[in-house]
Amino acid sequence: MGMKKLLSIRNVGLVLIVIVLLIVPYITTGYIISLLASIFVAGILAASWNLMSGFVGYVSFGHQVFFGIGAYTTAILVTSLKLGEGSLLYTVALGGVVAAVFGFAFGYPAFILRGPYFSILTLGFSEFMYVIMVNTPWFGGAEGLNLPPVYILPKYYLITFFIFVFFSLFLYWMRKSKFGFALSSIRQDEDAAESSGIPTLQYKMAAFAISAFFPGLVGGAYVWYITYLDAVAAFDLHVVVQMIAVTMFGGLGTVVGPLIGAFCFVLLSEVLWSTMPELYLVVLGVIIVIVIQFMPRGVVVHVLNSMKIKVI
């Protein structure tokens, strides 16, 4: 790669954005930091949903379960071992790992199924976990778990930011890798992919584990930030609704779609929350329907395409 290519406007711009975002927690108010953090969270969650549903074509309606598993792993670790703020990174990482293990293990039986059967199975799995968590006192039951009240907003911001950047780079690499091509071949015609010698089950399980890992990390970090967890918040259906809405907003099956989509979406939902909190989910649902009606490939993709920008 030549110096000229490395110094292209796009790359320099990206580096500048990253530097600015790194300085942000030291110069702005808590509101801006938490707003940016929620953009990263929305982006990570949507991109992980998109990895499974957009790239591989297996629509998951229970993806919030991995967020919940990550959150519960971290919360249980912290409360039962009485851990302090110093253990932040380990516990968050463990949340992601446990979620990935669950994803991998769940994928093995689940990938016998295709289409709507798979979607409903994921939803059933999430609800199943919810019923277990809410009815088992050891996991906090209906009262939930309380974590030590520490102020970690700047750290929370940096964690989500790094996950966001890492995940974006990963997706960018994946798109042109053997792995990425295998996944998209599964989406286009799984039987053909299988008969061309692609071990589809292994690829699907790997993709599912990855798409479970990142929501798990986010769940772990989120628990530290909110310092409280109950089953309703952990396995909230709205988490997956948001993943779908953000992805649909950005562009299904694209790398940048969910990431840019998250930015537009969080700003939009911020406006919605402040103007009509009761109708928030109504508007979200309507947006999902309208976007698919008129721009089934996503608003961001649609707009960028009309500006003659190629979307990856």
């Binding site: 629509v59 059967y117 199975l121 059933g124 019923v131 277990i132 109708l279 698919i292 009606q293």
Partner: protein, 284 residues
């Protein structure tokens, strides 16, 4: 012991309502090959409609269910209107899932916004029947009887009438059916309308015995899908049996482990059945 018999009996009666819901979903699923994720929301809408009619005019849901059926059929046409545009899209299955998902989120929360999450219900005063020392509440028996009647009626209709035959033809082979002069679009429209209308009837019946609330639709979607999966897609008898099996196992789980574990039975059954029988569907 008597308690258990009572619980099992009432669960069994509930199976009649489940049957109507699941048959409606099965119709849409079998003919259009898509999952109407908003199916449970139709049940919820039917329940609320019957409730408000009862509240303001005093007409019982057993009469108003005909009106509910008509209204929900129209809603079903509307749902088809949303889906129609994407029929030839290669990602139709995915898009239809997400469209109905988005619509059901919007409708559920709109209903909550209008009428809050408060539990409501229709209270009918009906005399109980006593058979051999066992008290059978008519209020619980009637929905079951109506449920069976509607399901049987629909079965006969699909078996004998022209529309029924056309529906089955399209579900078996859409292209061949079209070559025989059956309008695929019309059949899709009919199946979507009929399926949603049936869900509405189920909701109207449900409102007479259980509390209704905006989020109930979601439970019904999963439940109905679970029944269809258990009974077999396109199988009338299977769905009927599965409805009762599921209702009974739910009641039993609630009786043994406490009512918080009730949904556990449903989800456990769906997970196990999907995984065990999965190969059977993908092989086809």
């Amino acid at each position: 012991m008597e308690n258990l018999i009572q619980v099992l009996m009432y669960s069994f009666f509930l199976g009649g309502i489940y049957a109507i819901t699941a048959v409606g979903l099965n119709l849409i699923f079998g003919v259009m090959k898509i999952v109407n994720f908003g199916h449970g929301v139709m049940v919820m809408l039917g329940a609320y409609l019957a409730f408000w009619i009862w509240k303001f005019t005093g007409i019982t849901p057993y009469i108003s269910m005909f009106a509910v059926f008509v209204v929900l059929t129209l809603v079903g046409f509307g749902i088809y209107g949303l889906l129609k545009k994407h029929e030839n899209n290669p990602d139709f299955e995915l898009l239809s899932l997400i469209i109905t998902f988005g619509a059901s989120i919007a409708i559920t929360n709109f209903i909550r916004y209008l009428w809050t999450s408060r539990f409501r219900g229709v209270f009918l005063i009906l005399r109980s029947i006593e058979i051999g020392g066992l008290t059978i509440s008519t209020a619980r028996f009637l929905p079951f009887a109506v449920g069976l009647l509607v399901t049987m009626g629909l079965y006969a209709y699909l078996k004998k009438s022209y529309v029924g035959k056309a529906l089955r033809a399209v579900s078996q082979d859409p292209e061949a059916a079209q070559l025989m002069g059956i309008s695929r679009m019309n059949i899709y429209l009919i199946s979507c309308g009929l399926g949603c209308g049936l869900a509405g009837v189920a909701g109207a019946l449900f409102s007479t015995i259980y509390a209704i609330y905006p989020e109930m639709g979601f439970t019904f979607t999963v439940l109905a899908f679970c029944i269809v999966v258990l009974g077999g897609m396109g199988s009338f008898k299977g769905v009927l049996i599965a409805s009762f099996v599921l209702a009974l196992s739910e009641g039993l789980a609630g009786f043994i482990f406490g009512s918080g574990w009730k949904p556990f039975a449903t989800y456990l059954i769906i997970i196990v059945v999907l995984i065990l029988r999965g190969r059977y569907w993908t092989a086809r």
